[in-house]
């Protein structure tokens, strides 16, 4: 790495300054990025008390020469760029020469480093600033102690240890995903929490996000000229209630960019419920000159020169990979005797467009995945299938229902006998069929009723939950606690809000640094997807004051619960279940609209239907 130089004044003013170190996690981010810029292949992080007491990062990168050590701590001193041109094409994570100086102003900082050519290592500490010889084999150790010791007011804004640690861990994960080949280790209060050997991208993603993610994800790799997108996107079955499994990297830098997020959402639009969040790890690489990283103090937003082009590129790449038929579902039928999934040879691959199944070789995950698919087939864009309601015996209905006249208008004229029969038909009528796993079709006196089954069920559950939460909702204890993988942050939220959760019928207890056991669930929701439900609730609860959340956010919490308890699209309902839904809707207050204000059912009268066929009266 070249020697460090003080930047020209003009350039300094062109570099966005800002709050670099608002919490331990932002310190960690800066220090980790420096290690990566130094070409490290092994990085070890140790955090004490959420990084507040101590945050130490050791790397095996190029190191800092003795004479450069004081400069490294000076404001606007960087070895990474020297001119505006450099800034425009910046390839390194750092470029402002600001991070270490900012950290040094709020914490006790010790920098120990040794360059490969030197015989010994040197150390500098602030406050103080004396250079002293030190022992270190290679690379750099950055030791940050007593963060905000000088500014106690700042310190008050820090959250609990688990929360701050959780944020640090988020940063650590992002770096891990951005640089799979770098060996990483994370120690929390003296205990090693993660140790990830350098690996190929797919393995690293499995290390960081779990097999649950990779098992439900598809790999993609698309290139168009100098722009390339690669990574993994989860199929909708894995979609999350919170945004925590969304990783987008631009030239190796984690970003939260509106344009990119929008492109992803659009690609998922047809197959994912609005309230759900897609899960993905995506890396976009392009000429650094085509993207401006200097628009946000934490470098978390970027600006593309060709915003529209990038949006279209990302959207199409994802839409394509998501639209491919489910290999699991297809192969189950095509190769019944085989237990493993055959490679998806059916879809002819585009030249620059490769895809592979991101499931590991061998039994468990695949079989599990296939079973999972069978229960949670997402809505695809294929033509709707009309599920016939066979076995819907008229005998099961009151006699009047069986004699339901097809044309109420004509029947009314036919006499009193039949109008009595009509009177027995409930307002929403009787179910005829289920359409595309989404709508229930029913016949009532006026004609055809179309019900959005998820929305209707969600509404009913919501009203019921509201009714029972006035008291204590009935909660079923689980024989086998459901173990839910959560992030450290979610874990902290769960602990903080244990009383609220219990009040709602969820008994949770941490069983590991990343796992919660769910020991009881509200009786009304026993059939919900429990991990999703719990994560969604934690998302609602996060950053809320624990004491009053039940009063202030009750309806939101209940809405989340209802949404997760409601029947999912593509569940085949038996005729009895459909009729039960219609009766529940009639009994439910405000059943005509879902929690989001959309209608839950519509009526198509015979007259309207006739008009479709140009059958004037």
């Amino acid at each position: 790495m070249p020697a460090i130089q003080v930047l020209p004044d003009l350039l300094i003013s062109q570099i966005a300054a800002g709050e670099v170190v608002e919490r331990p996690a932002s310190v960690l981010k800066e220090v980790l990025e420096n290690a990566l810029d130094a070409g490290a292949s092994t990085v070890e992080v140790a955090l004490d008390e959420g990084g507040v007491r101590r945050l130490r990062v050791a790397d095996d990168g190029c190191g800092i020469a003795r004479d450069d050590l004081p400069l490294a701590l000076a404001r606007h001193a960087t070895s990474k760029i020297t001119s505006l041109e450099d800034l425009e094409g910046v390839r390194s994570m750092g470029f402002r020469g600001e991070a270490l100086a900012a950290i040094a102003s709020v914490a006790r900082l010790t920098l120990t480093s040794r360059i490969a050519e030197a015989n010994e290592a040197w150390r500098i500490s602030v406050p103080g600033g004396e250079l002293a010889p030190a022992a270190l084999a290679r690379g750099t150790v950055v030791d940050v102690e007593d963060l905000y010791y000088a500014t106690p007011a700042r310190r008050k804004f820090l959250k609990s240890e688990p929360t701050e640690y959780g944020h640090c861990e988020d940063v650590f994960r992002r770096i891990a995903l951005a640089r799979p080949q770098v060996k990483l280790q994370l120690t929390r209060n003296g205990r090693i929490v993660h140790r990830w050997p350098g690996a190929a991208a797919a393995q690293r993603v499995a290390q960081v996000l779990g097999e649950e993610f990779t098992g439900a994800a598809r790999a993609l790799e698309v290139q168009a000229g100098p722009v390339a997108l690669s990574g993994f996107v989860a199929l909708p079955a894995y979609s999350r209630a919170s945004r925590d499994a969304q990783y987008f990297f631009v030239n190796g830098r984690f970003v939260r960019d509106k344009l990119l997020t929008h492109a992803v959402r659009e690609a998922y639009a047809d197959i994912l419920h609005e309230a759900r969040h897609p899960a993905y790890v995506l890396a976009l690489t392009l000429d650094p000159r085509a993207v401006d990283v200097n628009v946000h103090p934490a470098k978390i937003e970027v600006r593309f020169r060709d915003a529209r082009g990038i949006h279209q590129f990302v959207y199409h790449a994802l839409e394509r990979v998501l639209a491919e038929p489910l290999a699991g579902a297809a192969s189950a039928a095509a190769a019944p005797a085989a237990f493993h999934l055959p490679p998806p040879g059916a879809a002819p691959a585009q030249p620059r467009f490769q895809r592979e199944l991101a499931v590991s070789e061998g039994g468990v995950t695949q079989a599990a995945q296939r079973y999972f698919d069978a229960f949670a087939l997402p809505r695809t864009g294929t033509a709707p299938t009309l599920a016939p309601v066979t076995g819907f015996a008229p005998a099961a209905l009151p006699a009047a229902g069986a004699a339901l006249p097809l044309r109420p208008g004509a029947a009314a004229a036919a006499g009193a006998e039949q109008s009595e029969a009509e009177a027995a038909v409930p307002p929403l009528g009787y179910a005829l069929a289920q359409l595309a796993g989404v709508y229930v079709l029913a016949q009532n006196r006026a004609g055809l009723v179309l019900v959005d089954m998820h929305a209707a069920h969600e509404r009913i559950l919501y009203e019921r939950l509201k009714a029972v939460v006035e008291g204590m909702p009935a909660a079923q204890k689980l024989l086998i606690p459901a173990v839910v993988a959560v992030s450290a942050r979610e874990l902290a939220t769960a602990e903080e809000h244990a009383a609220t959760l219990d009040r709602l019928g969820f008994e949770v207890a941490p069983v590991g640094p990343q796992e919660l056991a769910l020991r009881s669930v509200p009786q009304l929701l026993v059939r919900a997807h429990l991990p999703d439900l719990l994560r969604a609730l934690l998302e609602d609860l996060a950053e809320q004051p624990a004491s009053r959340v039940i009063e202030t956010r009750r309806n939101e919490l209940l809405a989340t619960m209802a949404c997760h308890g409601a029947v999912r699209a593509n569940r085949q309902l038996a005729p009895a279940e459909m009729n039960a839904l219609l009766r529940d809707m009639e009994a439910c207050e405000r059943a005509d609209q879902c929690n989001h204000g959309r209608p839950t059912w519509v009526q198509l009268s015979m007259a309207e239907l006739d008009r479709l066929f140009m059958r004037g009266r």
């Binding site: 189950a332 237990f339 599920a387 009935a474 689980l478 024989l479 459901a482």
Partner: protein
């Protein structure tokens, strides 16, 4: 090509044995068909839903040339079912159609080539073979089968654990709220095996096995299992997953013991169930010296109270349950008396049979 000429029942019975698993709608259309295959004097019928396959054979009469076709299982079954009992039926196939003749009735049905029907051929390598008796196996299934989960996302609960090891045949089923366990002495292989049978396979076996003590052969491969009994061969995939450790779930020493007669408890629960809140099904068990009360209340505040006399003089207890789970064990287990063991309002309830260590049923409580 004459496939078979036989009395209607001789054909209908094996057809009904195999056609139960045919799905109404399957992504692979040929799976709504049944394979009808003639080889020598035998006629084989075979159906599959790609997870389970059932094969059944019957004698076909005079030796004819070999032939095989597939035809709609539902239509063939409906035709045979509505024909008179003892009429002789012939099945005759040409290149494109199957003709069914009986008395003065005649039907021609579309066929699809049998080679296109995807068959399961048993697993790879040598299976572990286990000999059992049909009635014993079936009654054991009956003791646990109702506790299986249905369409649970924890796919391994949508089935039944079967372990054949250490001289015991064990079956365990759970839906996460309650668990049924049953064990019987059996001849077991060395080393033993432990597999999860899919729900549909369990229900199908329960339907097809007979009450007699005729033999049942089970062949187990790492990912498939085969049951051979009567004229039937049922092949099924196994669920590849980790079943919960039932030993940790069965409470070893709950202190409160109640001896209950089904004749009293079952009807009392059924009456209390009438006034439980519809979706919640909660019933309270209130235990005091000499008395067990069952209390329920629904959303309209209608209440039911039942009281049973019990020989109990320990501490009191007030605990809630989903009444369905309690009624389930009483209806599926054919016994006059049950032992019920309890601890506190947060712990499970354990049902066992007096003087019998082989059956256990655990139910988790419900906060009402």
């Amino acid at each position: 090509m004459l496939l078979i000429k036989a009395p209607r029942n001789q054909l209908l019975q094996p057809l009904q044995a195999v056609a139960g698993i045919v799905e109404k709608k399957h992504t692979l259309p040929i799976l709504s068909n049944v394979v009808v295959e003639r080889a020598g004097e035998m006629l084989t019928l075979l159906a599959s839903d790609s997870e389970i396959q059932i094969r059944s054979t019957t004698t076909a009469g005079l030796d004819q040339t070999n032939a095989a076709i597939t035809v709609s299982a539902r239509k063939l079954q409906d035709i045979l079912r509505t024909l008179p009992e003892n009429v002789d039926v012939t099945l005759d196939a040409d290149e494109r159609r199957l003709t069914v003749r009986a008395g003065k009735s005649r039907f021609t049905l579309q066929i699809l080539p049998a080679e296109e029907f995807p068959r399961m051929r048993g697993g790879e390598g040598e299976p572990v073979e286990i000999q059992l008796k049909q009635n014993e196996f079936r009654s054991q299934l009956g003791l646990v089968q109702y506790a299986m989960a249905q369409a649970d996302i924890r796919y391994y609960l949508n089935g039944m654990l079967m372990s054949v090891a250490g001289g015991q045949l064990r079956m365990v089923a759970t839906d996460g709220h309650r668990l049924a366990y049953c064990s019987q002495p059996a001849q077991t292989p060395e080393p033993g095996i432990e597999v999860i049978l899919p729900r549909k396979t369990v229900l199908e076996l329960y339907r097809l096995l007979s009450d007699g003590d005729a033999p049942l052969t089970m062949r187990v491969w790492p990912s498939q299992v085969q049951f051979l009994f009567n004229e039937i061969e049922l092949t099924s995939k196994l669920i590849d997953g980790k079943f919960p450790d039932y030993n940790r779930v069965i409470p070893p020493n709950h202190p409160k013991l109640l001896q209950l007669a089904r004749a009293e408890l079952a009807p009392a629960l059924q009456r209390a169930a009438i006034l439980t809140a519809e979706k919640l099904r909660g019933v309270r068990l209130v235990l005091a010296p000499g008395s067990l009360k069952l209390l329920s209340i629904n959303t309209e505040q209608e209440e039911a109270q039942e009281e049973l006399e019990v020989a109990y003089d320990g501490e009191g207890l007030d605990i809630g349950f989903n009444v369905t789970y309690l009624i389930d064990v009483l209806t599926h287990v054919d016994a006059e008396n049950f032992d019920l063991r309890l601890n506190d309002a947060n712990s499970s309830a354990l049902f066992t049979l007096p003087g019998n260590d082989n059956f256990k049923y655990v139910v988790m409580p419900m906060r009402i």
